[in-house]
Structures are given as C-alpha cells and as structure tokens.
C-alpha cells in the first residue's frame, strides 16, 4: 500500500514541479520539497498509526478515489456557486473554486477594504518575504502525513493579512466550493492568516461540494496571532454525506492574544480535524469549542492539542457531540503544560449523547504537565437523554420528538452561547432544529 502511494505522490510531485517552472527557485519550494520528502518517508497514516486508530482515512481514500487521477478544471455556473454560499451573514464573502481564490466571485465588505487578501499563488510570487516569514511556521507536532501532503503540493488557497490596531465587526466568510460534477476531486487548499498587533476579527469557513463524485479536501490552516490580537475562527462542516474532509488547523499565539476556535460538524462521510494551538505568550486565552451532530454513517474525529509554552495563560476546551444512527465520533484532546508555563489554567471537557444503540464515541483526554504550579482539569461524559427530563416536558403537553429536540438544543446551547455572529447562531440553531425534528 505505502509503496504504491509513494509512487503516485512521486510522479505527481514531478509533474507539479515541471508545471511550476521558475517558481521552483523560490525559497518556498524548498519547504514543499522538505514536506514531500517527509511524506515519502512517513507516508499517509495507516491503521497502525495511534493517532488514526479509529479514523481509517487513508484506507477510505484508497477505496474511494483513483489517487493518480488529475483534477479537472472546474466548470461551475454562477447559479451553482451562489446556491452554496453562506447566506444571511453580513460581512465579506471570499469564494474559492476548487481551492483557487476567485476575486471576481468574491465580495469584500467596505470595512474590510484595508485587509490584504491575496491568492496563495500571488502571495508566493509577489510577497515572498512576508510569505516565507509566516508560512509553515506554526507546525509544532510530529509529522502528520496529511499536513505533509498539503505542504508538498501547496499552490491554492489564500493569504490574509490584517494590519495592527484594527477592530472589525463583521466576519470574513471563506466559501470553498468544490466541483465534483464531472469526476472526483482531491484538493490541498491552504489558508494563511496573520493578525497584526491589537487587532480583532472573525472568520467563518464553509466547504461545499457540488456533484455526486467523491470529493476530498485536505486543508491546512495557519493563524499567526500577534500580540494582543483577538481572533475567532469558525468551521462549519455540512458538506453532504459523500465528502471527505481533513483539516490541520494550526494556531500560534503570542503575548496577550485571545483566540477562539469553533468546529461545527453536521455531515460528511468522514471528517477529521486536527487542531493545534501553541500558546507561546503570556496572558493568552485559547478557547476551543466543538459541536458534532452526526447521523447516518458519518464519522467525525476531532484531535486537539494545546501546547502551553509560557506562563500565565488560560485555555478552555469544550466539545459536545450528539450521535444518532450508525454515526461515529472520536475526540482526542491533549494538553501540554511545559515547565516554563507556570500559573497555567487549562480546562478540557467532552460530553456526548448517544441517541442510538449503533452510534459510537471514542473519547480520550490526555494531560502532560511538567510545570508544578498549574490548574488543569479534564473530563468526558457519554450518556443518553435523561428520561426524567423527557417525561417532565411531555407531562406538560410537549410531544416526544419536540421534547427530545428541546433537550438536545439545550445540550448544544453551551456551544451556541459562545458563538459570535448573531446571524450565524440562528443559522446553526435552525440546522439543529431541522435535524432533530
């Protein structure tokens, strides 16, 4: 298996390099080559890889895709694209077609005019100094094969730079529209976000696939949060039951930053989110929130790592799951507190409700603490709906389905309450209510 994949990647990398032409001379290409070599030596994680024990993504990819096939040109119409945008959100809307940033389709809100938004290709070509300064700098742990794959083939995506001392009310929505109408699609989009000192902004990520062929997006996201900046980043995964999504999100915090990451998973064949937060500053706050509402045979896996490297910071993590039918959830949360990171407060919690006997959850919290003056806690719960609560609601005339919906909504409210962007909250609540009724 490994050998065959290696050959495929090698020949793809060869033709990628040939196509790049002069860009091969750019320092960024050195990073690609390093990543390619890492990919050749580790390969994609197989079933024996502890981090992917429950999530056999590589096997699924080999089964579902012809991995040596080239992606076609996208041929989506404006109507098709418009139909998949996140409506009702007042802000900027960036559109990516098969990962390629489309300026023509994107709409930038007036308050966002001073933000630098470049396609990744342009950033590599015209802003290479800045690009090299930030690109691939947040990687902190091991060699994730999927991250290596993305880095080796980095070409599509976006780089966003926010200047210092700016506060933006409205969010920037990143709409990734994938064309799987004619044949399969495999993409390696990359998002690089740099937030200047003391600035505040919110991002929303929305992946949508059109067409019935299998689609796989292997995303890498890097957020570099400069001193005292405040960032919220929200992923919404509701891309239908035929799509496979992998993401490596890497957040790097310097002093006094406040970063909140949200992951909402509602559908997909297989979804795997790696979230790595490096708290490399004092007085930081890192919030990691997740809600997965799964049914059918959807498989969703959240692996998070928060790495406290400096003293006096706080991290909060709360992931909640509601699993129905034959769905499967995986949660793995690691907290590292290094010796230098005294006075760290780190909290982690994962709560799950199983609605069916065939649904599965594997949850594993892990703490590694080398500092001796810290407050850390972690816990996970898995259960069913409370019969007493259900009976109470029904005894007041509320029908059973509605009562279940109310209780699950209440369970999810912990996460919704923390979600910024008012319109988004009602959008999410609607998804939950629709699903539960």
């Amino acid at each position: 298996m490994g050998k065959k994949l290696n050959e495929i990647f090698a020949s793809q990398f060869q033709s990628f390099e040939n196509r790049l032409n002069g860009e091969k001379q750019m320092p960024v290409h050195k990073l690609r080559k390093d990543a390619f070599e890492a990919l050749q030596s580790t390969g994609l994680p197989d079933n024996k890889n502890e981090e992917y024990r429950f999530t056999r993504l590589t096997t699924l990819l080999e089964r579902s895709f012809n991995l040596s096939q080239q992606n076609p040109e996208q041929s989506l119409t404006k109507d098709q694209i418009d139909g998949r945008m996140m409506k009702d959100i007042d802000g900027s809307s960036l559109v990516f077609l098969n990962g390629v940033y489309s300026k023509e389709q994107s709409v930038i809100a007036s308050e966002h005019q001073d933000i630098t938004i470049d396609s990744l290709q342009d950033a590599i070509k015209y802003d290479s100094e800045c690009f090299e300064h930030y690109f691939n700098k947040t990687k902190s742990y091991g060699n994730d094969g999927f991250l290596s794959w993305n880095t080796a083939f980095t070409e599509t995506g976006v780089k966003i730079s926010v200047e210092s001392n700016r506060t933006y009310e409205k969010p920037i929505v990143l709409n990734f529209i994938t064309d799987a109408t004619g044949q399969q699609f495999i993409g390696n989009p990359r998002i690089l976000i740099q937030i200047g000192e003391n600035s505040e902004i919110t991002f929303l990520e929305n992946f949508k696939t059109i067409g019935d062929f299998p689609a796989f997006n292997n995303l890498a996201l890097e957020i570099i949060s400069e001193k005292a900046s405040r960032v919220k980043y929200i992923k919404i995964q509701d891309d239908g039951d035929n799509t496979i999504h992998m993401s490596n999100s890497m957040v790097y915090q310097t002093d006094a930053c406040n970063v909140s990451m949200f992951a909402f998973t509602f559908s997909g064949k297989m979804v795997r989110n790696n979230l790595n937060v490096v708290v490399d500053g004092e007085g930081c706050e890192a919030n990691m929130y997740g809600l997965y509402l799964l049914n059918g045979t959807t498989h969703a896996d959240n692996h998070t790592v928060v790495d406290h490297r400096k003293p006096n910071s706080v991290s909060n993590e709360l992931y909640k799951g509601i699993l129905d039918d034959k769905s499967r959830g995986v949660f793995n949360g690691k907290i590292y507190v290094r010796q230098l990171a005294q006075k760290t407060n780190a909290f982690q919690s994962n709560n799950n409700i199983l609605l069916s006997n065939d649904a599965t959850i594997n949850t594993k919290p892990q703490l590694e603490i080398w500092a001796d003056d810290v407050k850390c806690s972690h816990g996970c719960t898995t259960g069913q709906l409370d019969d007493e609560q259900l009976f109470y609601l029904r005894s007041r005339g509320i029908d059973k389905d509605r009562a279940i919906g109310i209780l699950l909504q209440a369970f999810a409210n912990d996460i919704f309450d923390k979600t910024p962007v008012k319109e988004l909250r009602s959008y999410l609540e609607e998804i939950v209510m629709d699903r539960l009724n």
Binding site: D387, E388, Q389, Y392, S395, I398, D399, K400, I406, A410
Partner: protein, 251 residues
C-alpha cells in the same frame, strides 16, 4: 371526570397498587393520604403516564376515554396536570420558552390559535402574581438552582398557565416553609372552579388546612383502606396511622 376501577400497577415486577377504586367529579377536591411507601406517588405517576410503571389490571377512565391508551403529552393536552414531588432541573431550557411551547401545543390540540408573544407575556405576568413568582426566575433555566420552594411555586405557576381539568399535586407541601405553603395553597384555591378537579397527595394534614378537601382517602399497602370527609384528615393528624393499621388487622 375520573373513574379508577380495581387498578393494579407494578414497577420492576413489584406490585405497588393492589386494587384502587376512585371516583372524582368536576368541582371536587380529593386528598390522598397515607404513610411512606403506601403507593401515593405511584398512583400520581400512573395517572400522569410515567412509563416505567406497568398497569397489570383495572381501568382508568378520564372524561369518557381510556386514560391508559394516551401517552403523557396527550393526557396533558386533555387536561391532566401533575405537579411533581421533585420538579426536574433542565439546564439550557428557559421556563418561558418551555411554557410557550407547551401552551401552544395544548392550544393547537384544542383547535385554538397559537398565542402571540405579547398575549403570552401578558398571561404570564398575570399568572406569576398568583404564586408570587419573580420574573428573573422565569427567564432562567427551568428549575436550575431554584430553591425547594421556588420549584414548587413554579409547578403551580405552570398549572395556572396550562389550566388543567384534573390537577394532581404530588407532595407539593414537602420541603415548604409555612409562608411558601400558604402561597402555593392560595394559588391552587384560586384556580379551583366547578369545571376542574384536584387530587392532593400528601403525607401530612398540614396542607389540608389551606386546601380544604371534599374527600379524604387513606392509602395503605396499595389499597384505599378508609375514606371520609375532611374530619378524617384531622383525626389522622391527631392519632397518626396506627389506629387504621389496627382496624385493618382486625378485619
């Protein structure tokens, strides 16, 4: 309104109710008294439709319909209301939203229009006064962090909002101080009419000083062993249950 005939019910294979007979007519207040473990709460639970109890034999007819054929929400919509002995805390659900949903589902069932937000709030304000319930409690999560008294008052407030035909108060007096008891009893009395009936399940006679029953039934070991007027309650308060036990032993 309610006619129970030879009702036998069990939980986990243990028979708790061993042949209950009871007739309740509109406008009446019935008190069901008895020592701990006699089956009082089981009877209340069976009437409200709690699913963990099995009805082994007997019939319960409510407004001409077989009550056992109805699930808990149907019973509520047809006017059965259980004030819980231990009201459940539901974090994340506000009392307001919960009651709006309940009331509108009941109104829909009755073929009435849904209440708009303004009329609902007006109605709520009016009923809150009845049990002297504070506005801030209503906007909080249902019963979460409420004191014992607040929970019980919230039960009677819900009863006032839903206007049941048959209200069953399960040990509503337990855990109440005398002031709270008066408020709760006062609320119940104000809701009383010639069209509805109340069953008061209680361990002590105390509540019956404020909610005057037309009938008192003594439940022991899963059966009614004595029925009478309100004077029976006074006698129980004075003498306890032993004299009835002795009477029973003689039979």
């Amino acid at each position: 309104m309610l006619s129970i005939k030879n009702l036998r019910a069990s939980i986990d294979g243990n028979e708790i109710l061993k042949g209950i007979n009871l007739e309740v007519k509109a406008g009446e207040v019935h008190a069901i008294m008895g020592p701990n473990g006699s089956g009082k709460s089981t009877l209340a639970s069976v009437l409200a439709g709690r699913e963990e109890y099995d009805v082994n034999s007997g019939t319960i007819e409510y407004l001409g319909r077989d009550l056992m054929e109805m699930n808990p929400e149907e019973r509520a919509r047809e006017g059965v209301f259980l004030a819980f002995q231990y009201p459940v805390e539901i974090p994340g659900v506000s009392t307001t939203n919960f009651l709006k949903t309940a009331l509108n589902q009941i109104r829909e069932h009755r073929g009435e229009e849904r209440l708009d937000a303004v009329s609902f709030l007006t109605l709520m304000k009016e009923k809150m006064k009845l049990v002297e319930l504070d506005q801030t409690l209503i906007s909080r999560s249902l019963n979460e962090g409420f004191s014992g008294g607040e929970k019980k008052r919230n039960e009677i407030f819900q009863m006032a909002m839903l206007e049941p035909k048959l209200a069953i108060l399960d040990e509503t007096d337990s855990g109440l101080d005398i002031d709270a008891l008066k408020i709760v009893a006062n609320g119940v009395n104000k809701l009383k009419s010639s069209d509805n009936a109340t069953i008061v399940v209680t361990h002590y006679q105390r509540l019956l000083d404020y909610i005057i029953p037309d009938f008192v039934h003594v439940l022991m070991n899963g059966k009614f062993v004595k029925s009478g007027g309100k004077e029976l309650a006074y006698k129980l308060e004075e003498l306890g249950y032993d004299w009835i036990k002795e009477e029973q032993a003689l039979v």
